[in-house]
Symmetry: D2
């Protein structure tokens, strides 16, 4: 395995991120005589000859891929990579909101040493695939989601009306801004903002969370096995919807009466984790990045 | 007062609504020898010579205005009417979600008789005005809201970061989809979907309700007197916002560091209400249209 | 299997329930020459000689147990039965809130015919066990929960302060009324009222849902595999807690610094389900009993 | 006014609070030759001859009352004081959750100097009164609430069923743990934990917030003018309720079919506030004690 190159992807719009990419590139090429590849759009700024297109990167030609940025950058790269056999990801946070990342600027070189020594675990993460069915025609595959598939109104000020089926059983009909179908991985992202629950990555699930249902009368968040099939139908005459995958890809002009089906994807995303157990790694990231640490006086007691 | 004409506004995209407009037009012209005006866009379909532009309609030239549709239609007309001295509104629901309406197709002729006899109350409703301040320059007036002013990200998949001041005091900073500043009238509309409280129209207030704050860490809904000033500042570099007034008017390309100020408007909207008291009228509409009627068994008791 | 008796349990405080128990007793004894047993407390009202104590009922001496009442009755019986090898349950609703029940008064005889023919499925349901650790001493087993284990303040008006660990990792500290640790089965019960998510019974999980955390700053609901260990510690000096299991059993006077641990129970509860698939059975009960059916006009469309 | 004594009330169960009470007592008697009174239960520990019963303290015999503790202590004293003409309150926090307090240990002597010079504002706070009506008999006055009146089930594990009327109009019927009717002052207390909105003290209101309604189907929080009348009726046969006023006074054994009415109280509570405006004082306490200060990176921007 040590003969494969390492790939670096990075935000374009941050000098700080690009500088870090350059330094990591130099660190890896010097220290380990490793071949290092760069995603096409940043290569001209660092080493033009080492360029590789995102869609060509696989586990066959990359030992792993370093992604410099926040969760947005990870999602962009995951959506851009080959879906079949992608390399493991090492996320490096540079100051944004980031839950998927494993390390950050100050710790990156130490952590890279560990990874190069093979001193890490792989977190294997399930994904979802969205399909579109127009007028009862055949299914059109739309793409894979690591975090969530979001179905929303095409006009912000016009509420959607949708019906939801699970495994072919009609569940409910609601007026709402939209609906989120998220993975465990995505449960701490938009799903949580919308009122859904946090779900351990050990549980392979889909979570259906409605976005601002009218008069709060909608379906409460519901969590089902990932091998279920969710079908959303757009009901409101003359109101199109749109589908947003991981906040990265938008499919517009979804017409009334279209159905969107969501099922488990046939591929995985792999994350490099630097802890003695994946469970410990998860709960610590959860506490640090999502839950935070309320500071109440520890000796507080009620008046008797 | 009986010498002023009555005006009719109506949805264009519903034959049912246009037929009802035509029938009401005939009912009023025949029965009472009343002059009846029609908003410009529907006049060609009913009586071309009786046309009047929305922005020209005032309490001086219209005894009242009948609006046929749902809440969306009422909001469109309220936003299109002269802001200074608008006539009272009689909302006629034709099957959509409607909370502002007072009557519906089956009862409209009975109810019109009552109104023509003066057998009604006027509900006087406060509004909000939004102002834009770019680069600490002067305030630019954006428009008046009956229901709410919504500030959202210009890109659905990129969360806004905003700070909120009330009466000049810094209150909080949040990552979120957007923020709603609503009136009492708007408290049962988008504000309620987003988790805000229902507020009696007798209370003259603004309610600030955050839309899907990141990790649910945002400000809880807060209700303040309508003579307060709310200031929202867009903080995230390179991310524009947009402002949506009553779901009708959208102001785009609000740049980072812009401030939006919201204060009580200097004008009112008037609704015709057909009850013995405004309070009774409100609570009955609330129960019927928002709360609904859960049917639990009345003789249910716990096992002892 | 057909040689085993059938057992009947029933609410005591409802004449209607007792009459139904009597009729079912007669139906079964006549029609099938079946032996029918009655839980001790109702036997005197129906057939004194056929009495059996709840704790003595097992799958060895009962083909199945009919429970007449609502969810409260099912929970009482499940908590009273032998925990080791309990018989399958057929719940008969008589008008209360009931999600666990499979049939109701009008359909009971038809459904009993099906069950007697073996025309049913068994839903095998995981449970939780609570343990108490005082002053770092040994674990004291408190009991098993089908729905949830609730830890609350002993004084309604004094908020608890607790810390939560999962698998030994500290997660959070909160001020709150209490905390619910529920199963999938319990996810639609108190957990849902408190803001937790609905979880498919196919997923073997624990859900931790905080009850009214102070200033809404608490942990959001979190869902973890059922083979996890949750540890709750009471932190507030001079404030006792209490533990309520399935709303049936209350353990009082839990002192500050006590720890409560929750793990998967080593026993199951079995429900008789009368559908072609457990999944279909679940989603239909969910829609009918929890979600309800909002009636919005189907031809509603936004004004254009 | 300077001739009236100052009174001190204090937690009994905290040495730290009692020491502070002693020090403040000495500070006031020495420095200003003021007469200082002590609530009866703490007097023996400080100066037995200066004792006064809470219920005897009025604005006629006390210039103001210093309360040492947290919100619980303020609520205890407010409920124990003469309701007719109570003196203004200066709350001194000693480390607990406290929103009503104005000062704390480190700043108390500076702040006392200001108060003695008259350099303060008075916040005049409305309260609610609860009345009980058994079997349509006469109203029985139960007591006044500064924060909230809470109506809950007498058995924690049995949900209440209640109906709610406002100004005589039936609003809704729900299954729930309980219902909170709070003032603006109480809006940041239990009401907020239960999902209600924060309400500015400038608005004289009641907020009705349901506590864990069954399947989340209950009434959303509703805010009405304080001169409204709320009537709650207990509906579930054989299930008593109880009423808790400000977490201090509990009225038990409220029987099915009893009605509880809530109206504005005829008395006020006065707080000493040390700011240039009551509005500024409120928003600063709100930010500091309730909202907190999320620390997000200020230069965060989305990847382009």
């Amino acid at each position: 395995m040590e003969k494969k190159p390492i790939t670096i992807a990075c935000r374009m719009d941050s000098e700080r991120a690009l500088n870090l990419a350059r330094n990591i590139f130099n660190f890896l090429t010097k220290k380990k005589s490793k071949e290092v590849l760069l995603e096409t759009r940043i290569a001209p700024k660092i080493m033009p000859h080492s360029s590789i297109d995102l869609e060509d990167i696989t586990a066959d030609n990359s030992e792993f891929i370093i992604i410099i940025g926040g969760d947005g950058s990870v999602l962009r790269v995951v959506n851009g990579l080959s879906q079949k056999n992608p390399p493991p990801i090492l996320g490096v946070n540079i100051g944004s909101i980031g839950f998927l990342d494993e390390t950050f600027e100050k710790r990156i070189y130490n952590d890279l040493e560990k990874v190069l020594k093979g001193d890490y675990l792989i977190e294997n993460v399930s994904k979802l695939t969205a399909y579109l069915i127009k007028n009862n025609s055949e299914e059109l595959r739309l793409g894979n989601a690591l975090n969530e598939i979001l179905i929303i109104s095409s006009k912000f000020s016009k509420v959607l009306q949708i019906s939801i089926k699970i495994d072919g059983v009609f569940i409910s009909r609601s007026y709402l801004d939209g609906v989120i179908i998220s993975t465990s991985t995505g449960s701490t992202a938009y799903n949580l903002s919308a009122g859904g629950s946090i779900v351990s990555p050990k549980l392979d699930i889909m979570q259906i969370t409605e976005l601002n249902p009218y008069a709060r009368t909608g379906l409460k968040p519901i969590i089902i096995p990932i091998n279920s099939e969710v079908e959303i139908r757009l009901l409101r005459p003359r109101l199109n919807g749109k589908i947003v995958i991981d906040g990265q890809t938008t499919i517009r002009e979804i017409q009334p009466n279209s159905k969107i089906r969501i099922r488990e994807a046939k591929c995985y995303t792999k994350f490099i984790r630097l802890s003695t157990s994946l469970s410990l790694n998860y709960y610590k990231r959860l506490r640090k990045k999502i839950i935070g640490n309320l500071r109440f006086p520890l000796d507080d007691s009620p008046e008797e």
